[in-house]
Structure formats: structure tokens, C-alpha cells
Symmetry: C2
Subunit: 361 residues, 2 copies
């Protein structure tokens, strides 16, 4: 039995370990043996923390009404639990994982889950993590209130830690997340979105919560403010890299093998970085992009335009440029960690960052 | 020029004063001269507080994106501002209106506005306070994020006061509000809802935030915990009475003269107290009620059932029983105030409570 499997058996269903294992398989298949080995040590380091977090997720109140069932559904879907993993590792850069880190880790994931619930209503999304979305199962009304509920549950957990500055930062960051959603809504259906506007959305929508997760873990681990700032900076770059790869995967055939829907962003009229690059490489794409972006998902009769865009997006140069930029963000994030004490946890954060560029789902 | 008009001119657009003036007119026309006079003193007492609150509402950040415009739209609609009025009066039962009371008053209204934004998306509501709703003007997506944004803005303002127990209570109360929305969703489309279930919804959906407004004002006014509890208790009963009258007004011809839509609850499949009473008085209504409640607003072909229900609801006994129960709640609320120091502010709270039963919009 592999170490990974042993760890998994020791801690029922710690889903993030699954993710690390899948990443390890990818590293092995891509000849990234060293990274694969580092993922093994990372799993060893955080296995007890992730098990504690997993148990805590079970403690999110269950309810019988459709609102609570919608919320529980999203929480139970699990996902990568990357934000709690970041909280745990950041705490271990300092004094170690403790109850505050556990509450803050759960809160980071619950805020993320709350945004998924509202996003699915806004985007009319019917699937989430390969399963029917909460709104598809329980309706829009239940999904909206479920998002509200998880947000409040997250804030109560943060408040319970008595790290008031961390609570204040979370309120600021949720504000930034909403502003980013607002900007993204405004950009929707536009064929030409500036890279500046795209990165503004990414910083608010994705990177802000990663920043907070790292800050929260650092504060739980009693780190000094310069170290917490360094962790936040790492979180910012990790978040941008994560979103860049996420956007790329929406156009990548590799994802289809995992049963995921492709081209969701394009269908929803969302301009992401690969599309910005494709338009930059071939400005004559604009009329096709305009036709698809303004079709509000009604693509009958636009087969030619659609095919043209898909072909342009799947050009190897797009993926290369995206991954290169993600790689650059990762390097900046790793540089930021210089201000933090050396040790296993810092190494693990570096591993998480490197693995993010190679992830396939 | 009347005193009311003079006050209004001195403080541009303090909308709650308008409400008090309208109430006074009603009192005069109903021969409730004494109550009308008390409303005049109440206006005098709170005019500067309401002007300060009004100025603070102008300070809610403006934004250019549809999300922020949707939020600003609801805030600008104004409404009765009854929750901020409660915060102001409760603070004056103690040491007086101050900056904390101002922030808490604005927060109470913003939480209320956030729920209106999400409720309109859930209920597909196209009008709000006689104007197009935010979702009608800016779309569901903007309205959902706008609600999220106002909720966070409210929490930040409460946090800024450093009354952490008041923040904790608000988080608890928003949780209770969501549970009530969950129960109401579950009850929707059911012809027979128990009075117990109805009052459970009312306590969570409406009375909880009134309770909090009174507690918040009491804490800002540095009252002792027994006095704050008494205020909360008053808020609970005031909130129940307010909702009972609100539900009654949905079936009342008087409201039509204000340009308000009637029978909204019935159309949305929501069972309110008048409907529970109508069914109690005439159990043979059940099949008609069932047909309308499960029609999801598609009432073509149900004219006969619809008319039968409307006629039953407009029986004088229904309005009498509703107002009587509201009156009883008001008396309980006023009794609770016995634990608070006597004075102008307490008298004003008593006036607000009495006027609530007589309000027409």
C-alpha cells in the first residue's frame, strides 16, 4: 500500500489528500518526479490537519429545509479544499495548526462555497464539481439563501477566534470579491476585455480569498506582521496563477476526461485570459467573438464562429503563454516567502505553488 | 406652517418624518387626537437623529457598476426607516444618540435592504415601494450581489462600533432570518399552514431584526443588560405586530389608494395570518385555497376560487381579529418597557408601538 493510500485510510475521506495524490500521478507521468516526492512529504505534514478540518466540516449544522440542504450539498461536494490547506500550512509556518487555524480554514472554504452558490444562480449553472448544482437540485431561491447562510456561518467562525483584525480583513475581502463580481458582470457579453480588467477581476474574485487564507493561517500561527504580509503576497500570486490555470483548463481537452464540461466561460460570455491572448494573436477573430459573446448562450446558427474561436483557443501557443504567466506568478509568490522562516511548512507552500501550475482539474 | 412641515424643511428629505406625518393625519381622521399629538413630540425628539442618519445613508458608497447601482437604488428608495428610528429611540432611553447609534441604525436598515434585494429575486418581485425593484431595473445577478454587498457593508459598520456582543447578536439574528426564509419557502404553495409555523416565520423574518435594532440602540446608549433585554422584548412584540398589520394591509383596500399592489402574498403562494383566520372561520375554503396556492401565480381559470378567497379575506372579522392580536402584541411590548427608565424616549417608543397598529402603509 502506498503512503498516500495509507494516509487516506487512516483519515476517512480527507479529500484534499486525494487531490494531492492525483497531482502526484500527474507529476509522475510528466517526469516531474521531484515535485511528486515533495507532494508526498506535504501530504504527510498536513494529513492530521486536513483530517481535523474534515471533521469540522461535518460540524457545519445540517438542516432539513431546502435552504440548509442546498448549503450542505455544496459543502459535502468537497472539492479541492485548497483554501483550508493554505490556512493549515500558513499556521505551520508559525507556531503550528491549532483550533483557531481550524476555524479559519473552515471559514475560508465556506466563503468560497457561498460564492459558488450565488455564482451558480447568476450563471444559471446546472453542474458543479461533476454533480448537479445546488440550484439545480433545490432551486434558485434555496441556493440564494444557502449562500447567505454559509457566509454568516463563516463570519461567525472567524469571530469565534477573537482575531478581530482577521475578521476585519475578511469583511474587506468579501467586499472586494463582490466588486470583482460586479466588474465581471459588466464585462460579460463584451468581445474585447482588457487584460487589466481581467486581472482586476481575478485579483478580487479569486486571489483575494487566497490572500486572506494565508493571512488567517499566519495569524493563527502567531507570526509577526511582516511574515503575515509575505504570506499574503504569496497568496495573491498563488490565487492569480490558480485562476489562470483554471481558465486555461476550461479550453483544455484534458479536462474532458474528468467528465467536466468545457467552454463554460465562453458559453456564459465571460472573457478570460486565453481569449484575450487568442484575440491578440489573431485580431480578425473579433467579429466571431462578438457574435458568440452577445448570444447569451443561444449558439444555434453560430457554429462557424464557435468553431473558429475554439480552434484559436486550442493553439499550443495560448496554453504555453498562459502556463508561462502562471509560472511567473508562482515564482513571485515563492520569492515573497523569503521573508518567512525556513522549514517543512514553507517547503510545502512552495510545493503547492509549483503543483498549481501542473494541475489538471 | 405645521411643526411637522417645519421639521421637514429644516432637514431635507428625512423620510421617516414623512411617515410620522402621514400617521398623524390618519390618527386625526380616526379621532385618535392624543396619539397624533404624541407623534408630534416624537418627531421633535428624533428629528436631529433622523437627519444625521439620513446624511449617513448618503455616505453608503456609490458605485458605477450595476451591482452597486442596484444596492444604491434600494437604499435611496428610503421607505419607513423604522429600524433606524428604533435604534435612535433606544439610544435615547439611555445616554443618548451618538455616533455608534448612528452606525448601528444605518446597519439595521442595510440588513433590511439586503433582505429586500434577495427576497425580490426569490419572489420575482417587480415593484418595491411603488417603484421598479432593483432586480427589475438591473437584473437578478446584480440584485443578488447587491444584497451580499449591503450585508457586508452593514456588518462593517457594526464592527466599527466595537460593540462586539452587538455584532455577535447580529450574526445570530441574520442566521435566524435565513432560517425563517427557509421555513417560509418550505411552506410556500401549501394551503394549510399552522399558526405556529406562521409565527415562527414572523419571529425570524421580521421581529428578529427589530429586536436587534432595540438591543443595538440600548447598548449604544450604555444601558444595563436588564434594560437592553426589556428593549429587545419590546422589539420582538413590535416586530410581530408590524408584520401582522403588514400582512393585513396586503388584503386591504386602503392600501390600493397608495398605489400599492394588493394580494401579493396570496399570488406568491404565501400563507399569512389573515388567510389562516379565513380558513379557520370557513374550512370549506380549503379546496379554493389549495388551487390558488399551488398555481405558482398562474391564475387563469381560477377566477372563481380567487374571488371566493378575496371575499373571505375582506370579511370585517378578519381585519378585526388581526388588529386585535397586533394590539395585544403592542401591549406586551409596552409592558416590557416597564424595566426601562421613564422619559421622553420611552414615551416615544410607546407611541411608535401604538401607531404601528394604526398604520395604513
Amino acid at each position: 500500500m502506498s503512503l498516500m493510500a495509507a494516509l487516506r485510510d487512516a483519515h476517512p475521506e480527507p479529500q484534499s489528500i486525494d487531490v494531492l495524490e492525483r497531482l502526484k500521478t500527474i507529476c509522475d507521468s510528466q517526469g516531474l518526479g521531484a515535485l511528486g516526492q515533495r507532494l508526498t512529504s506535504l501530504s504527510q505534514l498536513v494529513a492530521p490537519d486536513m483530517a481535523a478540518l474534515h471533521a469540522e466540516f461535518q460540524g457545519v449544522p445540517r438542516g432539513t429545509h431546502s435552504v440548509h440542504r442546498a448549503a450542505n450539498h455544496v459543502v459535502d461536494l468537497g472539492g479541492k479544499r485548497l483554501r483550508p490547506l493554505c490556512v493549515a500550512l500558513a499556521s505551520r509556518v508559525g507556531a503550528g495548526f491549532n483550533d483557531a487555524a481550524k476555524q479559519l480554514g473552515v471559514a475560508a472554504e465556506l466563503v468560497h462555497n457561498a460564492t459558488l452558490l450565488h455564482d451558480d444562480v447568476v450563471d444559471l449553472g446546472d453542474t458543479r464539481r461533476g454533480e448537479p448544482s445546488a440550484r439545480a437540485l433545490y432551486g434558485n431561491a434555496a441556493a440564494i439563501f444557502a449562500g447567505d447562510w454559509l457566509l454568516i456561518e463563516a463570519l461567525r467562525r472567524v469571530r469565534s477566534t477573537s482575531f478581530l483584525d482577521v475578521l476585519d480583513r475578511l469583511l474587506e475581502i468579501i467586499d472586494a470579491m463582490i466588486s470583482a463580481e460586479a466588474l465581471q458582470l459588466e464585462n460579460r457579453g463584451q468581445a474585447r476585455v482588457s487584460a487589466e480588467s481581467y486581472f482586476q477581476v481575478v485579483e478580487g474574485k479569486t486571489a483575494a480569498l487566497f490572500r486572506w487564507a494565508l493571512l488567517a493561517g499566519g495569524r493563527a500561527g502567531e507570526l509577526a506582521s511582516t511574515e503575515c504580509e509575505a504570506l499574503e503576497n504569496y497568496g495573491l500570486h498563488l490565487g492569480i496563477a490558480f485562476q489562470l490555470v483554471d481558465d486555461l483548463l476550461d479550453y483544455s481537452g484534458e479536462r474532458a476526461s474528468l467528465g467536466k464540461e468545457l467552454f463554460v466561460d465562453l458559453r456564459e460570455g465571460k472573457t478570460t485570459y486565453p481569449l484575450i491572448l487568442a484575440l491578440e494573436e489573431d485580431p480578425s477573430l473579433l467579429p466571431s467573438l462578438h457574435a458568440v459573446a452577445t448570444a447569451h448562450g443561444r449558439l444555434d446558427g453560430l457554429q462557424q464562429e464557435w468553431n473558429r474561436i475554439i480552434m484559436a483557443l486550442q493553439a499550443p501557443s495560448i496554453a504555453q503563454r498562459c502556463r508561462k504567466l502562471a509560472q511567473r506568478q508562482i515564482e513571485l509568490g515563492i520569492e515573497a516567502l523569503a521573508a518567512c522562516p525556513n522549514g517543512q511548512a514553507k517547503e510545502a507552500l512552495i510545493t503547492v505553488a509549483r503543483a498549481t501550475v501542473h494541475r489538471m482539474n
